[in-house]
């Protein structure tokens, strides 16, 4: 499978935090959800692969190009959306279009105007009069108007109400209908990822814990409720993490079908992405 992003041994050191030896690939045509608690290193990772921060790495290839030598070419094909708009509130969408027509070689003003119409965004109104949802839609109009192949969203859905978030997810879904289009979506609203992600990468305290397909997480991970005796009889390799509750043990397992084959009477509930994240962060290993 061809990769849209290839990262090998990426490290970024701060005085009080470091991103440690991240190695991961993002397959072309997929939606990769990047999850982790606040301060886990999601934004640092995104900023590092965009070259916004100077990080150490063995190699980063984006859309088949080396970040070290082809950064500008790579950025022609990338759109990045943050949680807030970084455009001056005095600007109008029309003026932003003029700015960006002088920035991107493949900026399509006609397409931009079409998106503004589709999102009901008045092109001559100052964005200080826009709601948060309208500003986010403007970001999408901007992002889609230079034909990016990789869309990176850094907590872009946070702060939006569920209806707006759903519209945004629909836009992402539409974007990925083209198999050349890839999305890296960092979010701590894991329910969004449940709806859209093909892969989940989980980062905790600067370390990449896993990269797995969403189907694998859904089909193989589960939360087992059991008593102390059963818990103590379990094989270590079956346990990802556990929580000791007053009357039971809650155990995150990664092979629920195998366990259920042996113990069909056990109660293993489906683990959501949020559950998995919470077990990794707060559970005991």
């Amino acid at each position: 499978m061809e990769n849209a992003v290839q990262i090998k041994n990426l490290t970024k050191e701060y005085k009080d935090f470091s991103l440690k030896q991240i190695t991961m690939n993002i397959p072309k045509g997929c939606v990769m959800g990047l999850i982790g608690a606040n301060g886990a290193g999601k934004s640092t990772l995104i900023q590092s692969i965009l070259g916004l921060l100077k990080a150490d790495y063995d190699e980063i290839f984006i859309l088949g190009k080396d970040l070290k030598t082809k950064e500008r070419e790579i950025k022609e094909d990338i759109a990045v959306i943050f949680d807030v708009s970084h455009y001056n509130l005095q600007y109008t969408p029309a003026f932003i279009g003029k700015i960006l027509s002088g920035v991107y070689k493949n900026w399509d003003m006609g397409l931009y105007t079409q998106y503004l119409k589709r999102f009901d965004l008045p092109k001559d109104k100052k964005i200080k009069k826009f709601s948060k949802g309208m500003k986010m839609k403007l970001e999408f109009a901007i992002a889609f108007s230079h034909a990016p192949k990789l869309l990176i969203l850094d907590e872009a859905t946070s702060g939006l109400d569920p209806i707006f978030r759903d519209e945004i997810l629909e836009l992402i879904r539409e974007f990925t209908e083209d198999e050349d289009h890839t999305v890296l979506l960092s979010s701590h609203i894991t329910s969004d990822l449940d709806k859209i992600a093909d892969y989940i990468a989980f980062i905790h305290e600067g370390e990449l814990q896993f990269v797995k397909t969403y189907d694998e997480l859904r089909d193989h991970y589960g939360i087992l409720h059991c008593g102390k005796d059963f818990f103590e009889s379990m094989r270590e390799e079956d346990i990802v993490s556990f929580k000791k509750e007053p009357y039971e043990y809650k155990v995150l397992v990664k092979n629920k079908s195998e366990i259920l084959n042996v113990f069909p009477e056990l109660e293993i509930e489906r683990a959501s992405i949020e559950d998995i994240m919470l077990f990794y962060v707060k559970g005991e290993m």
């Binding site: 100077k54 500008r72 990045v80 970084h86 070689k105």
Partner: protein, 216 residues
């Protein structure tokens, strides 16, 4: 680069707050010049001090607006290198200087032909000296703004202007400008211009290093 230049010029000249401050600034200067009448000393103050002091206005306005919305975060995702970002800002400042040159040229003509303050040759010399001083102002203050950001940079900028004005007044008594300029003044201007070019290049390099450091 063109897009960013367009943005910076908009921030400088079309943001309502800046339209007012720039408009009133120039208006008051021309009004004062008119009210004070034909005064050679004030002519030099306006053309060689007050107008060059505003040469860095494009960078200052751009940094002020960018800091308020953290525009650098999105700017660095554009297909533009850091070198191009700094170069664009220098180009913006040079456009600011061109605008200032045009205004100070009009002011000079007003002094020469309206107030009969001095002759045209001397007027042109003072005007050119103001232009060269503007290049020095851009070189020095650009580094200050990149190093300190908008707020601290503006404070240092204002303090520097006050020191500059103070030295100017002191020199008026210790070694009058007119006498200094009378001594091979065209040669002096040529040397000053020749020095300004490498100084601008050095300033560009310094600003780039500061910008790279800030975003590393």
């Amino acid at each position: 680069m063109l897009g960013i230049l367009r943005k910076d010029l908009y921030d400088t000249f079309l943001i309502p707050k800046n339209i007012l401050s720039n408009g009133f600034g120039y208006l008051f200067m021309f009004l004062f010049a008119y009210l004070l009448g034909p005064n050679y000393y004030m002519m030099m103050v306006f053309i060689m001090l007050a107008i060059p002091a505003t040469s860095v206005m494009v960078l200052q306005a751009a940094i002020e607006q960018d800091e308020s919305v953290r525009f650098d975060d999105v700017l660095l995702t554009y297909p533009i290198s850091k070198k191009q970002i700094i170069l664009t800002r220098f180009c913006g400042n040079l456009i600011g200087i061109l605008l200032n040159m045009a205004l100070s040229f009009l002011l000079m003509l007003g002094y020469v032909y309206g107030g009969k303050t001095t002759d045209i040759q001397n007027g042109i010399f003072i005007w050119l000296a103001g232009c060269v001083i503007s290049l020095y102002a851009v070189a020095v203050f650009s580094v200050g703004f990149y190093l300190l950001g908008n707020k601290k940079g503006t404070i240092v900028y204002v303090v520097s202007i006050l020191i500059w004005a103070f030295l100017y007044v002191i020199l008026r008594f210790v070694a009058p400008w007119e006498k200094i300029l009378a001594f091979g003044r065209w040669n002096l201007l040529g040397i000053a211009f020749a020095v300004a070019i490498p100084l601008l290049a050095l300033s560009y390099w310094g600003c780039l290093k500061i910008y790279e450091k800030k975003h590393s």
